[in-house]
């Protein structure tokens, strides 16, 4: 005896998976006709389609996130650097496996128009030209772009009138590879030493401090501490192993002093045996007490900041948050 024929699956059952593809606009015209014919007859599938549409609309509405301004600024700083680097050490290792990045061979449907600009852009005439161009362009870019990144409060006119960076021969060439030989402990001990026994400042005009940029390797922007009643005293450079860091000095009523250390965090290992890690505004901040002075250190947008004061920890954290807006 023949087995009973299998029940014919309902058209809904057959077409339900196709509804997704239908909404995605990936069905062939005959399939579209088939689905729409069924939809016209089946309220259940129409309801399913309405729910799928609602789900997608919500997803699109909720899913599109604007990149925060901080990320754009961070990228400007990173991309303005001659040698790109990553702020996140944990992600650093995948930067080198560009072998996984494969070209697409498909013709473009979306970005055709802007690409014309790319292909039409004239290329520099030769290697020498492009090198010279890079040399002249890089400091220009970092003078104009980086101030925005580091202190949004600085007016554009100010950055345009900033004194020119020292000429190329005076700038130490950046090392090919940076070895973070100093830990945070080393930084804060040097900072506290200078804070305890301050040396006279090398510059006293806040705008002159920008001349330190090429030596420190990161933009040095004097933090604005006016709202804390702190008065700018001056700044100087300090050796930091094979490079330099900038120290900015402030004074406050009541004899309090603030020393801010601005350094290139690539040269500093983000670890410490004496400081505690806290998270302030989504960034790790290291706080502690070194030889009687409260210290706090953090990295914002590729620039390292450390403060030493005789204020309390909370005030220190406020200062460090203000240093790195």
């Amino acid at each position: 005896m023949k087995a009973a024929p299998l029940p014919t699956p309902s058209p809904c059952r057959v077409l339900a998976p196709a509804l997704d593809t239908y909404l995605d606009g990936e069905l062939s015209p005959p399939q579209v006709v088939e689905v729409e014919t069924h939809l016209a007859q089946c309220s259940c599938c129409r309801e399913r389609l309405a729910l799928d549409r609602a789900l997608r609309a919500t997803m699109k509405n909720k899913g599109q996130v604007r990149a925060p301004a901080s990320l754009r600024e961070r990228l400007r700083v990173v991309l303005a650097e001659p040698a790109p680097r990553t702020v996140a050490p944990s992600l650093g290792r995948c930067l080198h496996d560009s072998a996984t990045v494969l070209p697409f061979r498909r013709p473009d449907r979306v970005a055709g128009a802007p690409l014309r600009a790319l292909t039409k852009a004239p290329r520099p005439a030769g290697r020498l030209v492009s090198l010279a161009e890079r040399r002249s362009r890089t400091p220009l870019r970092s003078r104009h772009v980086v101030p925005f990144a580091v202190a949004a409060g600085v007016a554009f006119a100010v950055s345009l009138h900033r004194p020119a960076a020292p000429t190329a021969p005076a700038v130490p060439p950046p090392p090919a590879s940076l070895h973070a030989e100093v830990g945070l402990d080393g930084i804060v001990h040097e900072l506290v030493s200078l804070h305890a026994q301050p040396l006279p400042p090398e510059v006293t005009q806040p705008e002159e401090i920008r001349r330190f940029d090429p030596f420190v390797g990161v933009p040095v922007e004097p933090p604005k501490f006016q709202r804390f009643g702190a008065k700018w005293e001056g700044g100087r450079m300090l050796p930091l192993r094979d490079s330099r860091a900038a120290v900015l000095q402030y004074s406050m009523a009541g004899g309090h002093r603030i020393s801010v250390y601005v350094y290139d965090p690539r040269r500093v290992r983000p670890e410490s045996s004496t400081l505690r890690q806290r998270v302030i505004q989504d960034s790790p901040v290291y706080v502690g007490n070194v030889r009687g002075y409260n210290v706090a250190a953090t990295e914002r947008r590729g620039v390292g900041y450390a403060v030493a004061t005789d204020l309390d920890e909370r005030e220190n954290i406020e200062l460090i948050a203000a240093s790195a807006p």
Binding site: A57, M59, A67, P68, V78, P84, T86, L91, F104, L115
Partner: protein, 215 residues
Amino acid sequence: MVISPPPGPLSEAESFEQEALAHLDAMYSVACRLTRSTVQAEDLVQDAVVKAMRARGQFQPGTNMKAWLLRIVTTTFLNQYKRGGLERDVLDGPDADPLADGWMSTATMRAMRDAEALALQPLLQEELQAALEALPEEFRLAVVLSDVEEMSYKEIADIMGCPIGTVMSRLHRGRKLLKSALHEHAVALGIIDEAAEAEPTNLEEYRAKRRVAAR
């Protein structure tokens, strides 16, 4: 006489950078979904952008830059967080029974959406984020690329490095899981009347039972 050079046309690198940064929001949106953390998403996007700038020679002008960038975001994420790639997750994923179907009644489906806003019920909108985050990675990525970034199946296949058929099945399963998670929330939130749900929602099952009962 020294003439300072006019602000000439952008260099090749600068044009490329400018065009790549035009897709920053898309990269960040996808990175947020992948990492489920805004902090990690920023790091991921930064790495991907730096990587893209280095690998820009490999980009073929005339192809879709957004898809190319999203592929870099994805591979960077996979290399960083998922040494073994996506496939392992699919095999172990909560999809052991591909036939399990979130077949809902018409009334239930209607109750889950907001007819006026042509979107989900506001309460379920709030739950969508959690439901999406609970999806296995490869489903989440496929759904986000399709529904948020509106990429084609082919583009998603290129980004995820898998055949189009796999994209379709990931999308289908991902959306099914999403809907059943939202359905559970809807019941828990009282949007759907549980009594109404007592009636069989799986038509095939219901018919099969009827057939068995009729013998």
